[in-house]
Structure formats: C-alpha cells, structure tokens
Amino acid sequence: MSGELLKPPAIVPYRGPSASQWGMLAFLLSEVAFFSTLIMVYLVFLGADSQDGGRGGPTPAGVLSLGLVIGTTICLLSSSATIHLAERALRQGEETAFRLWWMATIVLGVGFLAGTAYEWRELIAHGLTVRRNLFGTTYYTLVGFHGVHVTVGVIVMLIVQVLALRRQITARNPHGVELVSWYWHFVDGVWVVVFAVVYVVGR
C-alpha cells in the first residue's frame, strides 16, 4: 500500500418510500394474504349446498339482490375519489376543502355500512344465517370481515376529522392522511374483488 488514504465514493442519499409508507405497504400485504384466504374459501364452497347431500338453499342466485349492492358499491367506489380529492386539497393547503371531502368520504363509508346492514336484515329474513348452510357461513365471513375493515376505516377517518378540526392535521403534516387514504383505497379494492366473486361470478 502506498500509505495515502483512499477516499470512499460519495454517499447516495436514500430517496425511496419513508419508513411509515413501508410499514403501511407491509400491513396491506398481510391484508392481501388475509382476504385471499377468505376469498379462496368462499370459492371452494361455492355451490356446495345444492350438491347431493348438501344443506340446500337459500342460494346466492335466490337471495342476493344486485340492485342494492350496486348502490353500496357506488358509495364505496366514489369514496375512493373523494378521499383522493381530500388528500390533494390538503397537499395544496386548502384545509377547508380537505375537511369537506374528508367528511364526504366518511358519509359514503357510513352509507355503505348502512346498505350492508339493510342487506343482511333482508337476507336473515330469507332464512340465510351463518348456521343455515355453507353459503351463509362463507358469505357472512367474507362480507363481514370486509365490513369490519370499512368500520375500522370510518373510525380512523373520524379521528382524523376531529384532529383536523382542532388544527392538529394541517398541510404541513399530510403524511398520516396519506397512509389512511392508502388503507381506504385498499379496502375499496378488496370490495371490487368481493363484488366480482360474490355478486357476479358466484351468482
């Protein structure tokens, strides 16, 4: 060695997603695994009730009403748009617009839940319960777990709304809001798949 000190190459600063963003992505990956399992199980038992020795009706075609669910689906999908607008408003510093769009998202989420509650009441009136048959077992599990996720989303959004009204969430710290919106988009995405599986393919 010549004795003179070698100079290390310059450091390239890290520019990827932040730790919180990675955390949310990791969490959503685990949620993908969770819902994939529920959906697989739904598909495995699809039609099992009407086979020989099966437990019989009610069947999906017999009791699921498309009209209602298209309504709730529109609610949920448009809430993805409103939360996106809310987030954009916050980034641009329009805090009032943010709070309005955010509230709209909450209302749409609650609308979805109300629609589901109504749907379940009808289904139970038609005799479809968890106990009744495999359709009931798998349907309530899949749609129920999705509903729980919507509920959690609504609660978290309400907390954000309160924090925003207290001026604790402002244009200067939009990162939490961004993560909540990722979660919400994910829950909407899951619904698209559930809708396709349960109400389109499965009917």
């Binding site: 730790a19 955390g23 685990s30 695994a33 199980v41 038992f45 798998t138």
Partner: protein
Amino acid sequence: MSVAEQPRVEAPPWTATLNEWTATVDHKKIGLLYICMSVVFLVVAGVEALLMRWQLIVPRNTFLSPQIFNQMFTMHGTTMVFFVGMPILIGIGNFVVPLQIGARDMAFPRLNALGFWVTLFGGLLVYFSFLTGSAPDFGWFAYAPLTERTFARGPAADFWSLGLIVSGIGTVTAAVNFVATILGMRAPGMRLWKIPFFSWTILWTSVQILLALPPLTAALFMVVFDRQLGAHFFDAQTGGSSFLWQHLFWFFGHPEVYILILPGFGMIAEVIPVFSRKVLFGYEFMAAATMAIVFISMGVWAHHMFCVGMSRTLDLYFAGASLLVSIPTGIKMFNWLATMYGGKLWLASPMLFACGFLSLFLIGGLTGIMLAAAPFDFQLSDSYFVVGHFHWVLIGGTLFATFAGLHYWYPKATGRMLSERIARWQFFLLFVGFIVTFGPMHIAGMLGMPRRIYTYDANRGWDIWNQLATVGGLIQAPSYLLFVYNIIVSLWKGRPAGDNPWDAWTLEWATTSPPPPYNFEEIPTVHSRRPLWDLRHPDDPDWQYE
C-alpha cells in the same frame, strides 16, 4: 466543622424498575423481554417434553393417562412454535436489527411494545385452558374435525384458537415493524445489498410472516365461528371440509418452518465470518438464496399431506417443489463452509454452536429431502421418523443457531461476557443429548412406531430406541438449566465485555455495551458491509472490493 453530607446512591425502588420495563418502548428492552418470555416458555415446554419421554420409557407405562399425554404433545408443540421459536427470533431481531443498520429505534416503537404484550397475552390465553379443566389435546396442527364442538367439548379449543389469533396479531405487527425499519431507516450509505446478513434474513422472514400468518388467522377465526356461531367450515358431517383445514394450516405451517430457520441462517452468517476472520463468502448468492427460499417455500405446503390422498399430479408437483428448496439451502451450506475454509478458526462458544448447527442441520435437511419423496413419505408419514426430522431441523437448526446468536450478542446486551466454561458444558451436553434423543426416533419410525401414541407393546422392537430417547432427554435437560444459570449469573459475575469483544465488523459493535437508549451518539455512515473493518483499516477498506 461542617462536613458536607455524602450523597448516597439509592437503588431505584423496585416499582420504578417494574414501570421502566412494562412501559418501555425501547427496542432493546422489548427485545430482551421477548427473549426472557421465550426462555420461560422454553423451560415449560421442555418439562412437557420430559413428561412425555418419561411415559414412553417402558412399554405399557402408566405414568401419564392418554388424555394427559395428548394435552402434553399439543401444548409442547404449540408452545415451542408460537411462544418460544418465533418470539425468541423476533426478540433477537428487535435487539440487533436497529443497531446493525444504524437506526435509533424501530420504526414504530409503541407498536413494537404492543406486539410484545399481545404475544405474551396470547401465550397466557392458551395456557389458561389448563385452569378450565383441560388443555387442548388435538396436536399443534389441530386437524379438523378434532377441533369441532362434537369432539372438543370443553373450552380448550376456544382458548387455543383465540390465543393464537391474538399472538398472531403480535407477530404480524413485529413483521410490519421490521420491514418498515429495515427498508426505511438504514444508516446513510447502507444500500440494500450492504445490509448485514442477519438483518437481511429478518427482512425476508418478515415478508414470509406477512404472507403466511394472516391465512392462519383467517382459518382460526373459522374454527371459532364453527364452534361459537354454528358455522360449517371444517365439519364434514355438516357439509364442511376437514381437508380444507389441512390446506389452510399447512399453507401457514410450511412457511412457518422457514420463518423459524431463516433468522437462524442469518445468525450463523454473522458468527462464522467473525470467528473465521474472513468475509462472508458469496454474500450476493446468500442474499439471493434467502429470497429464493421465501418464494419457493410458499408453494410446497402439501408435502405435509401426501397421505391424505391427493392426485398424482399434485403429489408430483409438491414433491418436486419441495426438493427445489434444497438447492438454495445447499448454496448456503457451501458458502458457510467456504467462509471457514482457510480461515483462522476461533472456537469460542458462538462458533461452537455454529459448528454444531452446520453438522446437525445438514442431516435434518437430508431427512427432509427423503420425506419430500412422496413414495417414501407414504411409508413414514406420521411416524417417529417425522418427529426425528423436524426436531433435527428445529433444534439442530433453529435452536443451535439461536444459541450461537445469544452467546454472540449477550456481551453487547449486558456489557458482560458469559462464562465460556459453562457455555462449553452446555454445548456438549446439548450436542450429545440431542443426538441420543432424536437419532433413535428415526429408527423407531422406520420400525413402524407412529407418532403421538401414549404407549406401545413390548414385542415391537421399539423399547430400546425409546429408552435411548428418554436418556437423551435427561442429558439435554441440564444443558438448558446451565444456560439459564449462565445468563443470570454472568450479569454480575461476567467479565466486562468492552464495546467489541469479538473484534467484529458490523455497526452494533461500534457503540457501547450495553448501548445507550439512543444507540449511537452520531448516526454512522457506511461504505461497505463491514464498516468497522473500514474504520480500522483505512488503507485497505472493503468498499474497494464490493
């Protein structure tokens, strides 16, 4: 004549210490809590194992009733996998990873604390079943319909499912935290492929946790729904499918065994270079092999189900895919050997355990390959041969690697060295006792002894192998006690360790032992995989070659 009053150093009241540990969000303390919890559960589950071995020492023994025997193997397996194996690895990861990558803490410290407490409460929930009259008795893989109301009439199955759901949530939060920390909080200059190897394996273990644990959680919810709401998922008598449970469970269960071994690979890959005084041979290949193992092993689960009667095509696929896993695993074995080759070996306790790992894990891998050959498995599934196989990989693999890691990082965590003399005794007792316990099980299995039987007849030719296994267990037992003794007594008696007792090269050795709450006074900058080498050899730094 006024004498200034001597300030007296008061020991903090015990309530303050208790408060400090229960309310802590420091990754190092949480890591140690995880490890302590696992060691306690290790002793409990070890006692359960010894009770079973005592029952099996002679034919037609009446030491344990069949009912108790069933509860023992269920609780032993469940505890070892969920409340010893995973938490001890997560604990070591918690302690080491932020230090190794030059971070001040995990990404979400409070979530981290939540993860620990939830894991602990999950364990307590499962054990609570003892107080309700009976522990679960359907084996750690809980095949349906044994978990259904018809067969498991008491609340044990409910406690078991709920406990695993709860602790599973803790495990997933830990994985989320690791991914966020390792991908988002590395020291400046630490590009992805300069991550120390242990942290790299923790990253991929976490990915595997994220993919494999939620399906188990979903399946456990289904068990609870079957039992509590009258759902029909797994009860064939009411239209469900017990076969489905097997798929769901092993879709988790096989990745789980890699969740348990990958951090072990990581610890071995830290210890061997340091104690051979060489760089890790073929880091890139090792890193890629880790990813390959994660992806391949997501698709091999049904090799646990050959005997259920799947189609020929599925048998072929699952056998082939399982054999594939041995390629990246083999790459690792050869890389470790190549690292040692020509090195200056220093057989201190961490290295002893690492050598134990290399020799034992190899054999466990080979019996795995034998079982992956479906026709062979048809003969030996559900026999003691399988019990021999998986203990060989879990103890010879995971546990030896864990001991290597614990002996390696203990000085960092406590500032004291462990007693090498006790560590050597611990190693040799474990090594010998382990072989004497689990070697004969392979033979008993080939002679036709099924697993999970509480007793057997004298004329089967199984007696001697069972006696040997029990004797082996009795040789192992003091080894664990020595370890517990060593880690406690060395806290006071151990030689002061200094910052870097092994002359190692990764960042955790750059700070004091034990590290301050903020880890580093100044976040270090990294240019290679061995930052401390670069620091000490400015004329020949590693980054020239990487």
